[in-house]
Amino acid sequence: MSAREEILARVRKAVAGAGDVEIPRRYRTERQVEDLVGLFAERVDDYRAIVHVVPAAGLAAKIDECLGERRMIVPDGFDRAGGWDDLDTADGVITNCAVGIAETGTIVLDHGPGQGTRAQTLVPDYHLCVVRADQIVAGVPEAVARLDPSRPLTWISGPSATSDIELNRVEGVHGPRTLEVVIST
């Protein structure tokens, strides 16, 4: 018997006669948050990321201010000209996102247009992410409902961090050490 057949046979024998289990979904799947942008900004800031909230008209100027002289990777589909293309020597990467989650301060990339590849948002030391206010949802269930599982997904909550040495939080062991988020309203 193949391993596959044998494992399946063992499973069937083990649960023979076990009844069905009903799944109670009484937890919150939709919630009202008065100030989504404000809560998202506060929660992202909690992770020691840098957060700015700007009106859409001031977005370009804010991005220029954040970037300074950095050599940035600008992924295809990001609304901005000119970019560095060498992953190893770039100072940072600038991207859009798919969803922002207010309750947890999380940004989700689905690596669609303007979001780069998984490697592009990982290897450089600095990540500037632009989040539109209409991309922000209240909680995790709302985000899961919006996302497409057939795409690769990267959920980011603050910069890379470790607590492995005496539980001291240290930013940036492997991923970007600085996460800067511009929320455009």
Binding site: V15, V140, L167
Partner: protein, 463 residues
């Protein structure tokens, strides 16, 4: 590693006796468990629907386990459709053989690894080494453990038994580029690890991971982490091999809305862990292999009381609230799964034929804190008691229990025995001889009263 972790000699009482004499270990553990416990309590308290999430998490896992065959087949189909290859492994040897062959087929002799309990359980690194393949752990704590020729002692923070000066010594000794001017400041140590691993990430062609969840409906695998080493391994190499226990399944995409709230808050005490990666089949041109691991899990599934241990999402909340773990530490359990969950999972996965495994169901005060903390409501005390009944017992203990049962079964016999005991009460020693000393070494013999309650009642009722 210098010794085999599984099959560690001795038993829990012996191991823990040694551990509690190590005051540094006790200090580190107390600080760590109390810190994480406090953080967890505050972020769990933030969610008004925590108990509802917990009930849903428990039911989703139970439902999946009861239909595991169907969901495994659905997962296999979804992963295959998305360009991945699925392998099935009955036991550790078979899983190790599959992974070794996959690595050999790439022609590589080095692999990078994401922290994974399943690959520790099957001792994959040692199996690869036997075929000339070096596996590099990339999680900072796992790196500290690997370089220190040591064993993990906690599910979430495996190097928690080490302090900064010990870690500095290990780095100084084992990292080629590190010089004696390295300080023991945590950021400096983390930077040394970053430099040590960065080039390896960019160079490696093969990565090995586990997974926190697999979604049957979509074929999606999910890894939660903090450092970014996981993203490095999952993203950069050309070949990705994931070894995952068959119990890690969730039926539908939607179920992640429950577990992505339960797991981070229960494990690190954060609202969300810094990084979560999800991929479905072969992503961005990668060659993807999934190895589905049984290795005793179907035996656990066959036990109606014990199967709830398969709900475990490896958050380690039970470790952080356990008074026994806090003092004895992870090594005393002699398994990759320490603490309360290890005390029920390990003897079920491995059986209770070794002295160590037979002692694990007794490594608990049955206080129930673990059950309270568990995000999927595993009734650990219930399983412990059930396993205690199944564990082998010494002949003297069996004979003693038989006598006790005979006496307790009849109220006249009990009254006679109590009267006999009051007569010899002055003669009962503080420490019992022979095998009975196992009991009195760790407990005080209760003082025998001058008169039994039954006699007192009888006398006062008549008066």
């Amino acid at each position: 590693m210098s010794a085999t972790f599984i099959g560690m000699p001795g038993n829990f009482p012996q191991n823990s006796k040694k551990a509690v004499q190590n005051s540094q270990l006790r200090f580190n553990l107390r600080k760590a468990t109390h810190t994480i416990r406090g953080k967890r309590a505050s972020v769990v308290g933030e969610l008004p629907d925590w108990q509802e999430l917990r009930a849903a998490g428990k039911a989703i896992k139970d439902h999946t386990l009861h239909h595991l065959d169907r969901y495994l087949l659905q997962l296999e189909e979804a992963v295959t459709r998305a360009g991945g290859t699925v392998h099935w492994a009955r036991d550790a040897a078979e899983a190790n053989r599959i992974v070794t062959d996959l690595v050999k087929a790439t022609g590589e002799t080095e692999v990078v690894k994401v922290k994974s309990m399943a690959t520790q359980e099957i001792e994959l690194n040692q199996a690869l080494a036997a075929h000339g393949i070096t596996a590099y752990e990339t999680d900072l704590a796992e790196l500290i453990v690997q370089l220190g020729d040591d064993f993990p002692s906690h599910i979430l923070v495996p190097a928690i038994h080490r302090n900064r000066s010990e870690i500095r010594e290990i780095f100084l000794d084992k990292m080629p580029h590190v010089t004696p001017d390295l300080t023991d400041d945590p950021p400096a140590l983390a930077e040394a690890a970053r430099l040590h691993l960065r080039e390896r990430f960019l160079r490696s062609k093969v990565a090995i991971s586990g997974a926190n969840f697999m979604v049957a409906e979509t074929g999606t695998l999910v890894v939660l982490e903090s450092e970014g080493n996981g993203r490095m391994c999952l993203t950069l190499p050309e070949t990705l091999i994931s070894v995952v226990g068959i119990e890690k399944l969730l039926p539908s995409w939607r179920d992640l809305e429950v577990f992505l709230q339960l797991l981070p808050r229960s494990s690190t005490g954060e609202r969300m862990n810094p990084y979560t990666s999800m991929w479905t089949g072969a992503t961005e041109g990668q060659d993807f292999h999934l190895v589905l691991l049984d290795n005793g899990r179907t035996d656990v599934l066959a036990d109606e009381v014990g199967r709830q241990a398969l709900r475990c999402i490896r958050c380690s909340a039970c470790l952080n609230v356990c008074p026994v773990y806090e003092r004895a530490g992870g090594h005393a359990y002699g398994s990759v799964y320490p603490g309360p969950i290890g005390a029920i999972l390990t003897p079920q996965l491995r059986g209770m034929s070794s002295e160590l495994d037979a002692s694990l169901p007794f490594a608990s005060s049955l206080c129930g804190a673990c059950y309270e903390a568990c995000p999927v409501a595993i009734d650990i005390p219930e399983v412990l008691v059930d396993l205690r009944a199944k564990a082998p017992h010494a002949a003297a203990e069996r004979a003693g229990m038989k006598v006790a049962g005979w006496i307790l079964n009849d109220h006249q016999r009990l009254a006679k025995a109590q009267r006999a005991a009051t007569r010899v009460r002055k003669l009962v020693p503080k420490r019992l001889p022979g095998p009975l000393s196992a009991w009195t070494d760790t407990r005080d013999i209760p003082e025998i009263p001058e008169e039994s309650f039954r006699d007192w009642w009888e006398r006062n009722e008549r008066a």
